[in-house]
């Protein structure tokens, strides 16, 4: 059984939190703790879900909270969810604002850089 993983990278202007595998209720809290530990709400945060195979509502809540924290701190948040992925499907179903969702990490970096 592969555990969901999170890797935080420092990039120009902020952080990339790259998630892997299944992000569900079993691991969401741990991932959130890890991201909060490694990032600050004063810099942009890109949550990269490109390699996430499954995202449940706990995962959605996790991402929602991260977005909330960022915007409260006046910092940008972007979610990388590739076209056609189940992740994107879930986020769209949950009504995430379109501008939060980007298809690639490069696009996310570009929107961070524009700020």
């Amino acid at each position: 059984m592969t555990m969901a993983q999170v890797t935080v990278l420092v990039v120009p202007g902020g952080y990339v939190a790259k998630l892997d595998g299944d992000v569900d209720i079993a691991v969401a809290d741990r991932i959130e703790t890890e991201i909060l530990r490694q990032t600050e709400a004063t810099a942009a945060l890109i949550v990269d879900l490109a390699t996430v195979s499954f995202l449940d509502s706990a995962g959605v809540r996790l991402i929602d909270r991260l977005v909330g924290r960022q915007e409260k701190g006046g910092a940008l948040a972007r979610i990388v969810a590739p076209q056609g992925s189940s992740t994107l499907f879930t986020l769209q179903v949950c009504g995430f604002r379109p501008e939060l969702l980007v298809a690639t990490r490069q696009a996310a970096m570009a929107s961070v850089a524009q700020r």
């Binding site: 299944d22 449940d56 499907f89 179903v93 990490r105």
Partner: protein, 1006 residues
């Protein structure tokens, strides 16, 4: 005498003589005079007039008594004689000198009585005068003798006092104090100056006394034409008795004497035996004349002072040596502890400040780009601050040419060489300075600057001592440098070893490059990029920042944004590390060639921060790049091989299984352990007629590309033969001949069967392969042992191929597998096969999707060293998904995997598949969370089926429902279900049953 007295009276005594009172008065053997109270002479006798050579008329009524006296007498008369007379009425035997008419003097003793009238008012003074010439001569002799005695007594006392003052003088400063202060006063000089020969014996240096108005009086060569140097040279007193006498030989001194109103100056050598250690001068004004006795006294004084100086010098030298030995021990002891250069500097400065008398101490280290002030004492914050920003001013000290240092007694002397220490605000300006380079061999580690604000003469002994201190500091620096170097070397070696290990653990190039970058950033570099040459184009494989490298595209095409700098191009062409000429966004890039098989295959570009790497760091990075290049190349080779194998295998394994509602085919392939080469297992399912499909599973001996390629050939051959051969046995016979001819796949095993979908009849043949397992819908199972023969083209095997036939009932499943599933080290094959049959039988009603992965996971662990290939043919499609999972969040993923596989057997759109998977997971999660919040042993059952184009999903638990905590935002799950499904119902009774339905799109149903 008594005998001589005559008995008879002298005849003459009877003779009449003129002895009247008048006669007696006038011619008495003493002088008489009477004066009024104010001294005016009213009467004087002849005797006195004769003695004085005056006529009576010149005196009486014209002169006063006191006017006849010498000056001293006159004063004495006024201050003593007259008051005494007034008070007591008489004075006796006053010694005076009377001035004769011719100006000569008459020593006399006088007695006076004052006559007063009845009322007590003074009337006259009567005075008798006795000639005291001989008595005065006697007195004068006595006086002279007394004066001489007194003077020599005085000298003796002065000398004794000075000698006793010299005795406790422990330092030359004590001696000089006695000389210039006490001795000066004792000899009644108005000024005094002391000079001592410097250590080298060639310079006479002023030690004490008023500031001399001329530099030569401050410091003079021993052979200078000056009086104090001459006194030292000749070890003789030099007496400049008057300005005039001085003017000829020492005009300069004469001028100074005039300026300071000096009448005479004596320069006294301070001698020990035949040598003079220095000289002391005593200046006199006009009130004091110098005689030979004075000179004698001064000569003796000079000798006593010389001895005292020598004694003090010995004492000082000894205590200095002791102090220095102790100091050195302290410093050396303190320097043993520090572990880095900055600590060495701090400790050294602290120790020196505490034990040596320096005002300012600056410890400069040789930094990578110039001097660094590592520690300082006595320097103002402003100056220290400016040095911390830029210590360039101190660079000359760091590259000091003389390795044993330099010592400057005056700021003028070091100003030219080290302008940085003089061009400071006055209060910070350096005075006497010691520049002590800290070297190890020829390597400059730093420099120690020691300063005294006032002039200071660094004696040879002190210089040696300070050099020793500096040597100790240098040793300490070298020690910590070697320590740091060894530590760094070790750390670097460990780093490279760990990096190589870590890279080797990753299977492929990309992973290895990622790991390389991850290890380097931020541990070593601010950023890192691995770029490899592919078709003469540089392709970025991994990079720490994505801003200009398009990660996804990087492996397949050259990055258009990435214009390799000149340093990158040079590193590629020259094969040597290159540092970018200029920094971009404050980072200097270093390009390191990556080599493999003796040529440069790429480049590792590191952004190392602002400063350029030193040779040391470059050496390390080169070594690192060597190791990385090798690991990357191995990764690339692995990738290539694996890629080839997998390409082959994927190409061969993929291919749409026949779409026929009468049959469900699922397959499972798992390569042995992630990083192993591809194996030779394969399966195949293809139609061989309208109602017939061929089912194949096989295993080619060996691993890697060769095996994969052989497998491909065999597989192709089977497909080709299946089209013409009527039956499995004859197909295998033909296949034997093919393999025999081409060698590819000899000893491969194959199970081949043809299933008639209309009848359910299966004809099959096994060439050395493990028997297929048939599982009936009721859970009964059996291995198909019929139709067995040897592996393909086996030399030792039976040439004849046989086949067998079996009837499949609807709902039954045929399981074909390779030996990876059942061959277990230490376990009999039969036992494992029995276990397989058992496990498969238990799952006879489980949905076919997910069955194979479940079986595989049950049978073999993840680290299994062999490929596992499974093929399942369900005759008569399974319409229903049924699962039970433990009430544990971590089991949700298993459930999803199974459900995803079951969904895969349905023809669904991606959105439908995602939606169903999501709601299934959500519902199950709810069941786990709410139904069994306090209970981990509960079970959640999930059932799904498709009927009439509608998917029905039922999730059931037997726990007691707990409302979601108000604070959580749980509930989205239910919202999701409602959003994604056409209908959702929740029934709560003993446990909770969630039933959801969704109508599939027409396309999906079709």
């Amino acid at each position: 005498m008594i005998a001589d007295v005559p008995d008879e009276p002298d005849e003459q005594l009877t003779e009449p003589v003129d002895d009247s009172a008048e006669e007696l008065y006038e011619h008495a053997p003493c002088g008489y005079l009477s004066t009024r109270p104010d001294g005016t002479i009213v009467k004087i006798n002849r005797t006195l007039l004769d003695w004085l050579g005056y006529d009576r008329d010149e005196i009486v009524g014209r002169r006063t008594f006191q006017s006849l006296l010498s000056v001293g007498g006159r004063i004495y008369y006024e201050t003593h004689y007259s008051p005494l007379l007034t008070m007591q009425g008489a004075v006796r035997e006053i010694a005076v000198e009377l001035i004769r008419h011719d100006g000569s003097r008459l020593p006399a003793l006088v007695n006076s009585v004052l006559r007063v009238d009845a009322s007590g008012a003074p009337v006259t003074i009567r005075t008798t005068v006795f000639d005291a010439t001989s008595r005065r001569a006697y007195e004068r002799e006595l006086l002279a003798a007394r004066r001489t005695a007194e003077r020599s007594e005085e000298r003796l006392a002065v000398l004794q006092q000075l000698v006793s003052d010299f005795t406790p003088a422990a330092t030359s400063m004590d001696v000089s104090e006695v000389l210039v202060d006490k001795a000066r006063r004792a000899v009644r000089a108005v000024a005094s100056t002391l000079w001592l020969l410097a250590e080298d014996g060639s310079t006479l240096v002023r030690i004490a006394g008023g500031t001399p108005p001329h530099p030569l009086l401050l410091r003079a060569p021993r052979d200078a034409a000056m009086p104090h140097t001459q006194a030292v040279r000749r070890n003789e007193i030099v007496l400049l008795g008057s300005v005039e006498a001085t003017r000829q030989q020492y005009p300069l001194i004469a001028e100074l004497m005039v300026g300071a109103a000096r009448e005479a100056v004596v320069f006294v050598p301070l001698s020990v035996g035949q040598q003079a250690l220095g000289a002391v001068s005593f200046s006199f004004d006009q009130t004091h004349a110098i005689d030979d006795d004075d000179l004698q006294l001064l000569r003796t004084l000079g000798r006593q002072a010389g001895q005292a100086l020598q004694r003090a010098a010995l004492f000082e030298a000894e205590s200095r040596l002791r102090h220095r030995a102790e100091t050195l021990q302290l410093i050396t002891g303190a320097l043993a502890a520090p572990l880095d250069a900055a600590q060495v500097a701090r400790v050294a400065v602290d120790r020196i400040a505490a034990t040596l008398h320096f005002e300012r101490i600056v410890f400069v280290l040789a930094g990578a780009v110039g001097p660094v002030v590592a520690a300082a004492s006595g320097v103002s914050p402003a100056v220290l601050g400016s040095w911390r920003r830029d210590a360039g001013d101190l660079a000359p000290a760091l590259s000091w040419p003389a390795s044993n240092g330099a010592f400057f007694d005056l700021p003028e002397e070091h100003g030219a060489a080290l302008p940085g220490l003089v061009d400071l605000p006055p209060e910070d300006r350096f005075g006497a300075l010691a520049v002590l380079p800290l070297r190890s061999g020829t390597r400059s580690l730093g420099v120690l600057l020691l300063d005294r604000p006032a002039e200071h003469s660094f004696a040879a002994e002190e210089r040696d001592f300070l050099r020793t201190v500096a040597a100790q500091c240098a040793q300490a620096l070298e020690r910590v440098r070697l320590h740091a170097e060894a530590l760094e070397r070790q750390q670097r070696a460990e780093f490279i070893a760990a990096l190589s290990r870590r890279m080797d653990e990753a299977p492929g190039l990309r992973q290895r490059a990622d790991r390389l970058v991850a290890r380097l950033v931020p541990a070593i570099a601010e950023r890192a990029r691995v770029a490899l040459l592919a078709d003469r184009q540089l392709v970025t494989v991994s990079t720490s920042t994505m801003s200009h490298a398009v990660e996804a595209a990087a492996t397949t095409r050259a990055d258009p944004d990435d214009q390799p700098g000149e340093h990158v191009a040079l590193a590629l062409s020259e094969g040597t590390p290159q540092v970018a000429a200029s920094a971009t966004d404050e980072i200097t890039e270093t390009a390191l060639p990556l080599r493999a098989r003796g040529r440069v295959v790429g480049v590792l570009v590191l952004g190392l921060g602002r400063s350029r790497p030193d040779r040391d760091l470059l050496g390390f990075l080169t070594e690192l790049a060597e190791a990385a290049g090798l690991a990357l190349e191995n990764g690339r080779l692995y990738d290539q091989e694996r890629e080839n194998g997998h390409l082959l295998q994927r190409g061969l394994l993929a291919g749409e299984p026949p779409r026929d509602p009468r049959v469900a085919v699922t397959s499972y392939y798992r390569p042995a352990g992630e990083d192993l080469e591809v194996g030779g297992d394969w399966y195949d399912v293809f139609p061989v007629g309208p109602d017939k499909i061929a089912v194949v599973i096989g295993d080619v001996v060996g691993r890697g590309i060769a095996a994969a390629s052989a497998m491909g050939q065999v597989r192709s051959a089977i497909r080709a033969l299946a089209a013409t051969e009527p039956a499995p046995a004859s197909l295998l016979q033909r296949l034997d001949r093919f393999v025999d001819r081409f060698e590819a796949g000899r000893m491969a095993t194959v199970a081949y069967g043809e299933l008639d979908l209309s009848t359910g009849r299966l004809r099959y043949s096994c060439a050395g392969h493990l028997p297929p397992l048939l599982i009936e819908p009721d859970g009964s199972k059996r291995f198909l042992w019929g139709g067995r023969s040897a592996p393909l083209a086996a030399f030792a095997g039976m040439k004849a191929r046989t086949e067998d036939e079996v009837q499949l009932s609807p709902g039954s499943r045929l399981l074909l597998y390779t030996d990876g599933l059942v061959e277990r080290r230490g376990r009999g094959l039969d036992l494992e096969m029995a276990r397989l049959a058992e496990e498969a039988g238990r799952r006879s009603r489980a949905p076919q999707g997910g069955l194979l992965s479940d079986l595989a996971e049950t049978m073999v662990d993840v680290q299994h060293r062999d490929d596992v290939c499974l093929l399942c043919v369900g005759f008569g499609v399974e319409p229903q998904f049924e699962r039970e999972i433990a009430a544990d969040m971590t089991r949700l993923k298993n459930l999803r995997d199974d459900f995803r596989a079951w969904l895969a057997t349905l023809a669904l759109s991606a959105d439908e598949r995602d939606a169903l998977l999501l709601v299934c997971s959500e519902a199950a999660a709810n069941a786990v969370e709410h139904g069994y919040r306090d209970d981990r042993i509960g079970v959640v059952s999930v059932r799904a089926r498709v009927a009439d184009g509608v998917v029905e999903l039922i999730v059931r638990d037997r726990g007691s429902w707990r409302s979601p905590a108000a604070t959580t935002d749980r509930g989205r799950g239910l919202a999701l279900m409602k959003a994604l499904m056409d209908g959702v119902s929740v029934e709560r009774g003993v446990g909770t049953v969630v039933t959801m339905r969704r109508r599939l799109t027409s396309e999906a149903v079709a």
